[in-house]
Symmetry: C2
Subunit: 173 residues, 2 copies
DNA sequence: AGCAATAATTGTTAACGTCAATAGTTGTTG
DNA sequence: CAACAACTATTGACGTTAACAATTATTGCT
């Protein structure tokens, strides 16, 4: 086993505000690209990054980030969720959820309510304002997707969506 | 425009070592999921995250991170690249490249060589050890991809890869 | 009643991206 | 050809962030 280059655990922060140094266009025909993007997994990672960037750029107008959006989206489909639930389902650390919900509460998009059965837990619910906000930003999401999927025709987009759903649907989450 | 919740620019660090709190399996049939994963862009982001996680888990045995891998991969297809080139093509800050190449050099996977034409630039080249390492980790990459693309049959994987390449190939980079 | 387990939270630490500044070098142009 | 603008790699400082440990309050078990 090799020594860690910087004596630390691997980590991979990804999305940045504007990405000052923007990656130049990816050209699949270039020789280095064949190697770099030969693997679907890595390709997926790279595109996920780009998608997140675009999403964040749109979201940034509202002062929220992708993580907030994920929480809101989750809440929208589950009227009321324990923070613990948000943590496990979304894959964020419990301590991260605290800040996220704090932010959403400050903006009036969500509320913490006491749980009737368990006084330790708080139930996080979406406010009507939060729901309205979500509706608005969904349009932004559509624009992003449109940007991202530029070169694909509708049928191909549908196919891609289906395939991605298949992948997501499996045990990997 | 709303006020930023934490008076800071949006950012979205993504990949973590093991992701202690691992997202539970995504089930497209659940009500909240329909909303959350309805959008292809967001779905792509989420899947990219997961792919990166898996990749990093494999890479972590060697003490490297995805970024190092990206650099190595680039070098493998371009025998010799200026750091500036790495920066623009990979989308990392020039100052980040310095540390990355430092690490790779320390591990003996890459070398800095003086450029004949321009004494400012250094040419970064892959060593034979670096190439060997890359070959080894490529297997890991294959395993990752295999994990990730579990529910898809070969034809579907091919289709997905093609679609993703189309997206990557366009001007978005 | 006592003790392990759990939910939310706080605090600490280390890493990371961003930006500004610097040193060395090249190209340009007045 | 000399002065100056542009560029490469690098360093340093700053603020933000994620990850982890520890804490508090509460519940369940036995």
């Amino acid at each position: 086993m090799l020594e860690s280059p910087r004596r630390t655990e691997p980590r991979e922060p990804a999305i940045t505000r504007q990405h000052v140094t923007n990656p130049s266009p990816i050209d699949a025909d270039e020789p280095w690209m064949r190697g770099l993007h030969a693997d679907t997994g890595y390709l997926l990672y790279r595109l996920g990054l780009r998608s997140g960037q675009l999403f964040n750029t749109f979201l940034q107008e509202s002062g929220l980030r992708l993580r907030h959006y994920a929480v809101l989206r989750f809440l929208a489909g589950s009227d009321g969720a324990l923070q613990r639930e948000l943590s496990t389902r979304l894959g964020y650390d419990p301590s991260a959820i605290v800040g996220l919900v704090d932010d959403l509460e400050k903006l009036g998009f969500a509320e913490r309510r006491p749980s009737p059965d368990d006084r330790r837990s708080r139930i996080v619910v979406l406010t009507t304002e939060g729901r309205a906000f979500l509706r608005d930003t969904d349009e932004a999401g559509l624009r992003v997707t449109n940007d991202l999927l530029g070169p694909l025709d509708p049928a191909e987009r549908e196919a891609l969506h289906g395939l991605l759903l298949r992948i997501a649907g499996d045990g990997l989450g």
